[in-house]
């Protein structure tokens, strides 16, 4: 009896040992597989097809010997680190305009010329979690629980307002319209933005700095994103925030979108001086 029991015990030990061994090996294997490695591989093979070996052999050699690595830009002036280019490798590469995400080029190349990735990164305009290296981790969804989730496509101009004052000069038509509507509808009578404005309603000076978690989505029909909350709030304030004395202001879709964009550009974040356009510090004539 004794010996059989001991044998069973030893067998159990050996089996558990081998199982742990196998599991640890699996851990090592799985850790080596990363989402971005696949994208980098794809980028490398696509790029090798597009470039000419004869015309630029040095560069061709470099691309052939590309190793998978995390790419990041450190932006001390903006207080952040962005790793988006680990997957979005073609963002500044005009050869990838037709490629599918994440390798495709940035839609408006003019914007990248004045805001190169090396100096500005990506999250300052797009939001999201710059430190992440996976699709879900980077909070690509606008309704993600993150203080600064990804900005929805139609509302990108709201981020121009983070640094720019002169909306007309940068052709930010939505901001121009939004600011005009804000003035014409006398929103600052209740909602404070500048000193001297009304204080009956929630202060909007730093409205854009509120994360998704600060909004109540109980009465929201659509997407639980900040942009959608603001839109639906304008369409029917009493439905979204019951008990609100704010009435419905009749606006068409363009106006609604413009006002939403403007309101979401109101921030109190500050960056270092070299990040601001000259217009901010030089008084207008």
């Amino acid at each position: 009896m004794e010996r059989a029991f001991l044998r069973k015990l030893i067998a159990l030990c050996v089996i558990c040992g081998l199982a742990s061994f196998a599991l640890l090996g699996l851990v090592a294997f799985r850790d080596g597989k990363r989402e971005w490695k696949d994208y980098q591989q794809e980028y490398q093979s696509l790029l090798l097809e597009k470039i000419d070996r004869v015309a630029n052999p040095v560069f061709f050699q470099r691309v052939t010997s590309m190793k998978p690595e995390i790419k990041q830009v450190m932006l001390d002036g903006l207080g952040r680190v962005d790793r988006c280019t680990t997957c979005h490798l073609g963002i500044e590469d005009s050869l990838f305009t037709g490629a599918k995400q994440p390798l495709t080029t940035h839609p408006d190349p003019r914007l990248l010329e004045s805001h190169p990735v090396e100096k500005f990164g990506c999250t300052i305009c797009h939001g999201g979690k710059g430190l992440a290296t996976t699709y879900d981790g980077a909070t690509h969804q606008s309704n993600a629980h993150w203080p600064d989730p990804m900005v929805e496509k139609g509302f990108m101009q709201s981020r121009c307002g983070y640094c720019h004052n002169n909306y007309a000069a940068i052709e930010a038509d939505e901001l121009v319209l939004g600011q005009k509507l804000f003035k014409d509808l006398h929103c600052s009578g209740c909602h404070k933005v500048d000193p001297g404005d009304g204080v009956m309603a929630p202060v909007l000076t730093a409205f854009a700095d509120k994360g998704t978690g600060s909004f109540d989505f109980t009465h929201i029909d659509g997407d639980h994103s900040r942009q959608n909350w603001v839109l639906e709030h304008f369409k029917n304030p009493q439905k979204v925030t019951p008990g609100s004395p704010m009435r419905i202001y009749a606006m068409n879709d363009t106006q609604l979108k413009a006002l939403t964009t403007y309101v979401l550009s109101l921030t109190e974040r500050v960056f270092t001086r070299d990040y601001y356009p000259n217009e901010k510090f030089v008084a207008e004539e």
Binding site: L9, V27, A28, D31
Partner: protein, 247 residues
């Protein structure tokens, strides 16, 4: 003159044997004594008992809960030390360094998750272990003192868990510690002073993070290691793991 003097050539030839005998000391005496001496003469091995009662090995008696708790502690210590190479205990960098572990460090995800799971599991298993000891009446003489040591270990486990919870510096961490330290104020007479000492201030901020960090990685683990040593020593000296009597 010692009969064990060799020429240079002989010394070199005998080097492996001499080194081995120096590292692994063997006593003399009977065969049993010699086998026992290998264990007694080794720092790591002498922690093991030379003999173990068969019933001690029966899983059904103790369920191995104490052993599992100890094993979880070992996992926590190893994963914790490795995590320390990347974690930064500053309120600006704590959350970011945790994100780095998750995205930019090889095995960062595995280690962090192992640490978290092992921590929660250890609290549970330590509790189950205590229940087992109680229900098998293994706290009775001569094991009363070991029970007390065990309770101290339980409190240490809970406090280690509490201090570690703050370190990611996310919403969960901040509010858990806010609530926990507010409960401390209900201690009679010295409640507020105690909270002030715990947090290194009046609010949960940088000083609190630093204090909790030092407690979590240095002070509490050292006390725990010492008490675990005492706990195991007492098991040995009190006659081994408690078990049903022989038939």
């Amino acid at each position: 003159m010692n009969k064990a003097t060799y020429s240079l050539a002989e010394s070199i030839k005998l080097l492996p044997v001499n080194i081995r005998n120096s590292v692994i000391r063997r006593g003399g005496g009977s065969e049993d004594q010699e086998r026992a001496s290998v264990v007694f003469g080794n720092l790591f091995l002498h922690l093991h008992p030379v003999r173990v009662h068969l019933n001690t090995l029966r899983l059904g008696y103790t369920l191995g809960l104490g052993l599992i708790s100890f094993y979880l502690l070992v996992i926590l210590i190893i994963s914790g030390i490795l995590l320390m190479f990347y974690y930064i205990p500053s309120i600006d960098m704590a959350y970011n360094s945790m994100l780095d572990l998750e995205f930019a460090v090889s095995f960062g995800v595995v280690l962090r998750n192992m640490h978290r799971w092992a921590a929660h599991a250890m609290v549970a298993f330590v509790f189950f272990h205590m229940c087992r000891v109680f229900y098998t009446a293994s706290y009775k003489s001569p094991r009363e003192f070991n029970w007390v040591v065990g309770v101290c270990l339980l409190l240490l486990t809970l406090f280690l868990s509490f201090t570690g919870y703050l370190l990611p510096w996310d919403q969960l961490a901040f509010w858990a510690i806010t609530v926990g330290t507010n409960i401390v104020t209900y201690v009679p007479w010295i409640g507020d002073e105690l909270r002030y000492l715990m947090l290194g201030g009046t609010e949960v901020g940088q000083m609190a993070l630093l204090r909790f960090y030092v407690l979590h990685i240095a002070v509490l683990p050292m006390v725990m290691a010492a008490l675990v040593g005492v706990h195991f020593w007492r098991i040995r000296k009190d006659g081994g793991l408690s078990r049903p009597l022989d038939n």
